[in-house]
């Protein structure tokens, strides 16, 4: 099922150039004319000398041995991009996957954008990567044709060689390196792409390129970086967000065994930047952690100390009785529609702040030398790290080298760069390289959290059971920040709502209002930001309306989606919504799950939900059993996704969907942070439980609908529909409607 695959991880102490020199030396080749264009524009290899390697772009290198090295420019965070994007090149290049070595690229303008977020790595690069592979293949075919003195049209590329069938001649790519390197690089827009029906690699199941290293414990992750003379740091921040250091027992700490230095970092006011704190630098991680237990800091906690989750919830209730601070959408006359409705439904939904809880705690290694900084970071957003370090520490970006390591989970946490700027600030105080490691407690208590929220909903149904009005007052959270010298409220990630979010645009009378509670809790993107809770709230409330209307939840949803296919956006920067694609995934998931085909006994139920996010259309059906004692078992989940015309790596895609379903179930069941005195109460996995293997549904069925649509990513869109599908199934099983997360706080007993 999987193929043998080699992957090389650049040693942490080697820059990319050094690595490539080594790689080429290992292959018995010389690198020539490697054009590391600093402006990111040119990607052409120089063909000015006798070539031992053919390098038609910064991403592709073919040695005279025939070895193919492909650069993975996107950060690998578990989404599988280090395998899937190089597969796109390999397909068009007509090389055997077993001959390919994939190397992680550093942050480099020559590679273009390198942020892994918003499930964009695939859609942003897919077509370019096809053309990169096709360009190189075209040149290799031309090279063979030139050698054979034949028209290129008579030569075909396959299996890492060019063939002339009529004369039964073949030249391996390695043999074509010298000639190919002398050819001009054609305009990528003119090269002929393969017909997808001829694909040999794309759409098959390919194992991750680093799997062999993963299962044998090789150094891969940021936390695994080791450098000669490296020191180890920890960083204590105020438990109340943004609190400043008044004093600390630094002299006592510096006298402890193994401690090299301890100092205060003043930090900045940016809640997701360099926060104030105390750094301890030691000869080992344990020496640093041990010394930290003796650390006594007096903090100025500031106004945040008055904030608590209970206080926020009370505020939200009071705000819900007033008009929203911001009017997001107003279609028709909601008040009139509610007044004349055959039936109305009213409900409040709420969910807590939650943490990303990457299993690899935040960490970063930095080395300050000669006014420059070299950084090794497990990051989803290397450019943000470079930018934050440059702006905070006053170092020009050109003097900051950033090596992207594998990340032990992303989920949006590593789009932030706080841990990078902390390591850089600590490293600047000394000459040695320093690895900063956060404890689990640091990670849980200094995250940039998924915002909590409250939705106060009303809906109206006419005598025919049609949805005629939808009113949502969304009470959410914002931070006060200074922008262009002005103090403004900045909504948290996932704390703003598009007026076009479904069912906006579909209900004739629609009123969407938003009020943000000002808070000092740092917030950041969390896997499928916004969508990860909006799908639960809106698809649950739609279910309430379907039941109130006495209609089948699937039929009610199909009717609500209507007859139109492409529904245009109604706001600036809004997205078109292809209701036709959504109806197809809904019908398909109903077919595959046997929706409504059998009458289930009390305590068992099916639930259905759909959501559009990150360019993906996904519908899910969950089947659950709830015991009379209120114990939930999710027996089966069926997922149908439409993410376009081509699944790149079928194994990776299935893995993402399976993982999204289980991650979403764990989030639904367990995840919750309490906030008291401006601090997160939970400390570690003992009071912030994560889903384990025994809660995993025994059947998770993954289907993809191929459509004639652009290829897109799958790190996020399969996550949002799970929670409403399960909660709707719980209602079908028990008559209990879940309106508060997580489930561990909800009494599901029935009799």
């Amino acid at each position: 099922m999987t193929r043998a695959m080699r992957s090389v991880t650049a040693q942490p102490d080697l820059g990319r150039r050094v690595f490539l020199r080594q790689a080429s030396a290992g292959a018995g080749a010389l690198v020539l004319g490697v054009c590391w264009s600093p402006d990111g524009g040119a990607v052409l290899a120089s063909g000015s000398a006798a070539a031992a390697a053919f390098q038609p772009s910064v991403f592709i290198r073919i040695a005279s041995t025939g070895a193919v090295t492909l650069i993975s420019k996107q950060p690998e965070i578990g989404q599988g991009i280090k395998t899937s994007l190089p597969m796109v090149i390999a397909e068009e290049l007509e090389v055997n996957w077993r001959d390919v070595v994939v190397v992680q690229g550093d942050l480099d303008p020559a590679y273009g954008g390198q942020t892994a977020g918003g499930s964009t790595s695939t859609p942003n690069n897919y077509t370019d990567f096809q053309r990169l592979g096709a360009t190189a293949r075209t040149m290799l075919v031309q090279a063979a044709a030139q050698i054979w003195k034949l028209p290129p049209g008579e030569c075909v590329a396959a299996d890492g060689a060019v063939h002339h069938r009529a004369s039964a001649r073949s030249l391996g790519y390695g043999q074509l390196v010298a000639v190919a390197s002398t050819l001009p690089v054609p305009d990528a827009a003119t090269v002929k792409l393969k017909d997808p029906k001829d694909y040999k690699l794309l759409g098959t199941r390919v194992g991750g390129v680093d799997n062999a290293a993963v299962v044998t414990g090789k150094p891969l992750f940021g936390i695994d970086v080791r450098l000669p003379g490296m020191l180890y740091a920890v960083y204590e921040k105020c438990p109340a967000f943004g609190g400043k250091v008044v004093s600390a027992n630094l002299d006592a700490i510096k006298a402890l065994p193994g401690v090299r230095d301890a100092f205060v970092i003043e930090g900045t006011a940016n809640l997701t930047g360099l926060m104030p704190g105390v750094a301890i630098v030691a000869e080992s991680t344990w020496a640093a952690l041990s010394a930290r237990r003796q650390l006594k800091v007096s903090w100025d906690e500031g106004a945040v100390a008055a904030q608590s989750w209970d206080g926020f919830a009370t505020q939200a209730q009071a705000l819900s009785r007033q008009p929203g601070a911001t009017l997001l959408r107003k279609d028709g006359d909601v008040a009139a529609a509610l007044a004349s409705a055959a039936k109305t439904v009213q409900a409040e939904y709420s969910y807590p702040f939650i943490s990303h809880a990457n299993l690899e705690p935040q960490n970063c290694t930095a080395w300050a030398r000669d006014g420059a900084l070299e950084i090794w970071a497990p990051t989803q957003n290397p450019a943000a790290g470079q930018n934050l370090v440059a702006s905070t520490l006053g170092i020009s970006k050109e003097k900051i080298t950033l090596h992207i390591t594998r990340s032990g989970g992303g989920f949006g946490r590593r789009l932030s760069a706080d841990f990078i700027v902390e390591a850089a600030a600590i490293a600047q105080r000394g000459r040695a390289p320093v690895k900063l490691t956060w404890s689990r407690e640091d990670d849980l208590r200094h995250d940039h959290y998924r915002a909590g929220g409250f939705h106060f909903l009303r809906g109206a149904l006419d005598a025919g059971g049609r949805l005629t009005a939808w009113h949502n007052h969304f009470v959410t959270f914002a931070n006060r920040v200074t922008r262009d010298g002005k103090s403004v409220l900045q909504p948290g990630s996932g704390a703003s709502l598009s007026p076009d979010e479904f069912p906006g645009r579909w209900v004739p009378n629609c009123l969407l209002e938003l009020t943000a509670i000002e808070c000092g809790i740092p917030m950041g993107p969390w896997r499928a930001p916004g969508s990860n809770v909006y799908a639960w709230v809106f698809q649950s409330f739609i279910d309430e309306l379907a039941h109130a209307a006495g209609r089948d939840p699937l039929e009610f949803r199909l009717a609500l989606l209507g007859e139109r296919d492409l529904v245009p956006p109604t706001v600036e920067r809004g997205l078109p919504y292809n209701a036709g694609r959504m109806r197809r995934v809904l019908r398909e998931v109903a077919d595959n799950s046997g929706w409504g085909r059998s009458k289930l006994p009390r305590g068992q139920g099916q639930g259905i939900a759909f959501h559009f996010s990150h360019r993906g259309y996904v519908a899910q059906v969950a089947e659950v059993t709830v015991s009379k004692a209120g114990e939930l078992k999710v027996d089966r989940v069926v997922v149908v996704s439409d993410i376009g015309a081509q699944i790149v790596n079928l194994s990776g895609a299935e893995n993402q969907v399976q993982g999204s379903v289980i991650d979403a179930l764990g989030t639904l069941m367990f995840q919750q942070l309490d906030i008291q005195h401006g601090q997160v109460v939970q400390r570690n996995f003992n009071d912030y439980p994560m889903i384990g293997i025994s809660d995993v549904p025994p059947r998770i069925e993954v289907h993809f609908l191929k459509t004639d649509q652009p290829v897109t990513g799958l790190g996020e869109p399969a996550f949002p529909p799970l929670a409403p599908a399960v909660c709707n199934a719980i209602f079908a099983a028990t008559g209990k409607r879940v309106r508060q997360l997580p489930l561990s706080r909800v009494d599901l007993r029935w009799s």
């Binding site: 099922m1 999987t2 690998e76 578990g78 599988g80 390919v206 194992g207 991750g208 680093d210 799997n211 062999a212 993963v214 299962v215 044998t216 414990g217 090789k218 891969l220 992750f221 936390i223 695994d224 080791r226 180890y232 193994g258 080992s284 991680t285 344990w286 020496a287 041990s290 809880a357 990457n358 299993l359 690899e360 705690p361 594998r406 990340s407 032990g408 989970g409 992303g410 989920f411 490691t437 404890s439 689990r440 194994s651 893995n655 993402q656 399976q658 993982g659 289980i662 991650d663 764990g666 570690n684 996995f685 003992n686 994560m690 889903i691 384990g692 293997i693 025994s694 995993v696 025994p698």
Partner: protein
Amino acid sequence: MSHYTLHVNGQLREVDAAPDTPLLWILRDALGLVGTKFGCGIGQCGSCTVHLDSEPARACRTPVSSVGKQKVVTIEGLDPQGAHPLQQAWQELDVPQCGYCQGGQIMTAAALLREKPRPTDAEIDAAMAGNLCRCATYTRIRAGIHRAAEIAAKGKS
């Protein structure tokens, strides 16, 4: 600081460390065996699972002073060729996503397979309950253990 002679992956290793230093940090910082991962530091996530005299143990909760003559095996030493049936099965079924927890998962599963060469789903769930996977690859972890059991059985026949 005290001096310890540890038996790690079939070799004797000398280290100087404070007696309360968790084996985890001895392995990672002093011996450069970074396959054993730090996840929580309180024995809740299983990322640091190693074998002590063939029994799975949490290296983050094992002070170096308590190791004594016990034989320590880490993910790097599980199989000389990196071809333990679990390591084969994990690659065959493409189990990892981020991969951070997988060394610990494999070490716990290896101890399970030694006790129960053909475990049931329930036995797998019970044995693996203390190993978190944040990417939630549990479906494939379960399948991977079954597949490894098959590979091991074939190897013996």
